[in-house]
Amino acid sequence: MDGVLIMQGKSPSSGWQLFGAIKGLASSYWITLLHLFRKPITEQYPEFKRTLPARTRGKIILTRSPDGKERCVACYLCSGVCPVSCISMAAAESEDGRRYASWFRINFARCIFCGLCEEACPTLALQLTPEFEFCGTDILHFVYEKEDLLVAHGGKNSDYDFYKHCGIGANSEKGRRDNEKEPVNIRSNMP
């Protein structure tokens, strides 16, 4: 009503204005009153726990490949990308040439659960899980060592194995992996 009158270059009479104001007030009071009698939409947390999506960014785990070996190759990419520098480790190498972390430490007291480490990890070793209920009062309790982080399963990608696709020939000969052709013999490579 007001809008139309203003477009015609007239201002609404004060009677109309008062009526509109009272109508507006009454309708807003009515709506809030209706809300008073509706059921709250709150989920009461400790009693009701909603199932979180698999990709929720919570506590970090180190997963294993299908053959049970540690996936982490101690490439330092996760500790490099971490914006709060809360991942530290030392690289080591086993006899077959496969790299691993001799120790691996995440300080959850500093972690901001941004998930950048998971994105950086080339072997899908490091994964964030929906688990988030691990608060405590002792700050040292949040420093997780490799034993605390390592799990017995493959996490979100249980059938992925980095060494099946690439990497040095620790597990299989070059050219024998999935999606890989035999190496070309350059000496016999005649047209």
């Binding site: 007030l25 807003s28 009071y29 709506i31 809030t32 009153l33 809300h35 008073l36 509706r38 059921k39 709250p40 939409i41 709150t42 009461q44």
Partner: protein, 324 residues
């Protein structure tokens, strides 16, 4: 003497308990208005929340800012909390009852200028706010205090003017007489305009939404009590809620017939009527956004005061006409 002390003690106990629970009621109701539950963890349905808050506030550090005027800073919150408590002294909470052959008036002080006492006290409340805001020596506090002062003084006028027809109807300034004058019907039926003006001015007096400019969180942090912490902050907080109860009591006495009501005992009726105003204030808080400062002033001076004056003239005319 003994009876007076008993009355004082029981009134104080009831009011303070009511205040503590009013905070909880407000948080619960506001939660429900916004489709939340509100506090429900401390005790059964959150019933111990008020005590938890009280203990927390008592244990907090009491900070006096470096540049503050110490003496005023420390005593200003007391004014805010005491004024509405004093106001409750003139509220009658029952008919004169006879106990062991003695007449006991169910009011702490039956002042023959009760209405003037109430208005004078509500003006005093401004001092707590402006002194607290000024003494803190912070720009937010000062701005909040200035706003509060201007707002409370403006709306006091409308508050006082809306009570004139009530006094004309009751032929008395005494609260007891005003309640007695409503023996047949409450004044809200004959003075709806005065009732609405009183309620709106009461919202402004209590510094509640939509008139909470003195504490406008978005611009002024917390307005005049920005620098307060711990128990002194709690006193400001308490004062605000006791004020809500006091205003509820005033509305009950002036417009709703005080303790009068069928069936239930007078004190229960009075409590029910008192709680009506806090409910209205909470409902309003859940509904209306904050006014702009110029709108607030315009509304007070250019709308409420003229309407209140017109109401006095009309009521006076009608009373004269009916009387003759």
């Amino acid at each position: 003497m003994i009876t007076l002390l008993i009355k004082l003690a029981s009134l104080l106990a009831v009011v303070l308990l009511l205040t503590a629970y009013l905070v909880l009621i407000e948080r619960k109701l506001l939660g429900r208005f916004q489709l939340r539950y509100g506090p429900n963890r401390a005790g059964f349905h959150g019933l111990l929340q008020s005590f938890a808050d009280g203990i927390k506030l008592l244990l907090k550090e009491d900070i006096v800012p470096a540049g503050a005027d110490r003496f005023i800073f420390i005593y200003a919150p007391a004014i805010v909390a005491i004024v509405p408590l004093l106001l409750l002294a003139v509220i009658p909470f029952g008919d004169t009852s006879i106990l062991m052959g003695k007449e006991i008036p169910m009011v702490i002080a039956n002042l023959n200028v009760g209405v003037l006492y109430v208005l004078a006290l509500s003006s005093l409340g401004v001092y707590g706010v402006i002194l607290g805001g000024w003494a803190a020596n912070s720009k937010y506090s000062l701005l909040g205090a200035i706003r509060a002062t201007a707002q409370m003084i403006s709306y006091e006028l409308a508050l006082g003017l809306s009570l004139v027809p009530v006094v004309m109807l009751a032929h008395s300034f005494s609260m007891v007489d005003i309640v007695n004058a409503q023996a047949r019907y409450p004044f809200i039926l004959v003075q709806p305009v005065a009732f609405i003006i009183f309620i709106i001015s009461a919202m402004a007096e209590a510094k509640r939404l939509p008139f909470d400019l003195p504490e406008a969180e978005n611009e002024l942090m917390a307005g005049f009590h920005t620098e307060y912490s711990g128990m002194r902050f709690a006193l400001f907080f308490l004062g605000e809620y006791i004020n809500m109860i006091a205003l509820g009591a005033l509305v009950a006495v002036f417009f709703l017939g005080g303790w009068r009501g069928p069936l239930l005992p007078p004190v229960i009726w009075l409590l029910l009527k008192i709680l009506l105003v806090p409910f209205l204030l909470i409902w309003t808080r859940a509904t209306l956004p904050r006014l702009r400062y110029d709108q607030l002033m315009h509304f007070g001076w250019k709308f409420l005061v003229p309407v209140a004056l017109l109401n006095i003239v009309f009521s006076g005319g009608i009373i004269l006409w009916m009387g003759s």
